[in-house]
Symmetry: C2
Subunit: 238 residues, 2 copies
DNA sequence: ATTTATAAATGTAAATAATACACTTAAAAA
DNA sequence: TTTTTAAGTGTATTATTTACATTTATAAAT
């Protein structure tokens, strides 16, 4: 029988307890106009040097795990104020062969156009589409799968997809984003209907001429309406 | 700039990194035929002796956090093989005033009839309905709220409610359970329709005579059908 | 024995939401 | 001027959700 807090009656420190390493690992999602991708690093350090993994880092003395995830993310991409969401804590005593480390995962949604390529190059990082991603070290494959599931759920309940898009985007880009996240095809008329009834987009005068002769109108999302209309969540089922 | 894993090029141990205490805290849900309740303990140890809190314990050298949650749960209730679901890791450096401790929460679903009252008495534990629960120490109040939200989501997507009921239960008990979890009234005809179309219940010959003159039929849930019909999730919206 | 009281059991119609589906339009390129 | 290409748009069908009231079985009371 191992001790539990209750048995330590009236002690006021926890000095006999096991102290462990705590890390964060980031599942960095980006959208390159066609597909959802994740940013992976090729490890240039042991253990598992040369293999692909998530970017991570150890929790420092005065950081929350969210601070740490932000730091890790900025180190790799140069971006700050990025959308981050905690997914799960992984605690198998043998998950890291060097020393027991628990890892808390966060997924990040970034507009992949924005990231600093210099930094990602330094870290031998590369974007992979989800079905072409290499095998990952440790339990990182499971972490990615878990993060995708969480992202799918979150997408159906909050319009976080906008975090992955540039400021101005076309209806078609938004649709492709939803398609790639939810991994299913969506009818464009039904999609537009659904998005319009959320009433969070502003249609601009401007058109994007890169994808067709006719051009397609650009939209931004209206932060005020977005907050007003979505504070009780949305239901996005298509 | 604090170190991240990448900067430790080619090291194969993490000896310079900060080691922290890791705890689990359990949000124990039970259902007493009318209401969803949580089991809280009155602390007979410092810090915050005499105040109410969740039951928790430190992660031990060879345990996963799930093992630890199971252990904590068995210590308090005598139950094992209980439904447990990880919720969130809390990492604020100041969340525990004694020493920095990160806490991973799990919610547990138990049939409150089953728990060992001797043990709960020993730990000065008590069941509280959600709106009558006392103020909790540290960030435990937030943990409970977060766990309720997660339970609501999970309930709408998997029929985990059965974990909270005795083996045999009436349709009305099941309905009250859903009502208390989702915090809304449900029409009994619509409820029965929805449950029946899930096709996971077996109607028994037996009746429960305690609640009415007519008596109400008892049901159990059919484990095989349950697994077959729900492996792709359910949609429980009422 | 009959009446009364109580919760259990049950079905249908209306409203809302989701899905399936095809033609017209704008503009550049040929 | 014609061709090509993706953008833009609406309606009918189906499925799901919601609203709603009466009958029934039994124990308790008379």
């Amino acid at each position: 029988m191992v001790p539990i807090i209750e048995n330590m009656s009236s002690v006021s420190n926890y000095q006999d307890q096991t102290h462990l390493l705590v890390a964060v690992d980031c599942i960095i999602f980006g959208f390159d106009k066609e597909e959802l991708k994740i940013l992976l690093i090729k490890r240039n350090f042991e253990p598992e040097m040369g293999k692909w993994s998530l970017m991570g880092g150890f929790l420092q003395p005065n950081e929350t795990s969210e601070n740490a995830a932000n730091r890790v993310l900025e180190t790799l991409t140069g971006l700050h104020d990025v959308y981050l969401d905690q997914v799960h804590a992984y605690t198998d005593p043998k998950r890291d062969p060097v020393e027991r480390t628990i890892s808390i995962t966060y997924y990040a949604l970034i507009n992949s156009e924005d990231h600093n390529e210099e930094l990602t190059k330094q870290h031998s990082a590369q974007w992979f589409s989800l079905n072409e991603a290499p095998e990952l070290i440790f339990d990182h494959g499971q972490m990615v799968q878990h993060a995708i599931n969480r992202l799918r759920y979150k997408t159906s309940v909050q319009p976080i997809g906008f975090e992955l898009l540039p400021e101005k985007f076309t209806m078609r880009q938004l649709q492709r984003l939803y398609e790639t996240i939810l991994n299913e095809e969506i009818d464009k008329r039904n999609f537009a209907k659904k998005i319009n009834q959320l009433d969070v987009l502003i249609k601009l005068e401007e058109k994007d001429m890169s994808s067709s002769k006719k051009g397609s109108f650009l939209f931004t999302f209206d932060k005020d309406k977005y907050e007003a209309n979505t504070k009780n969540g949305i239901s996005f089922k298509l």
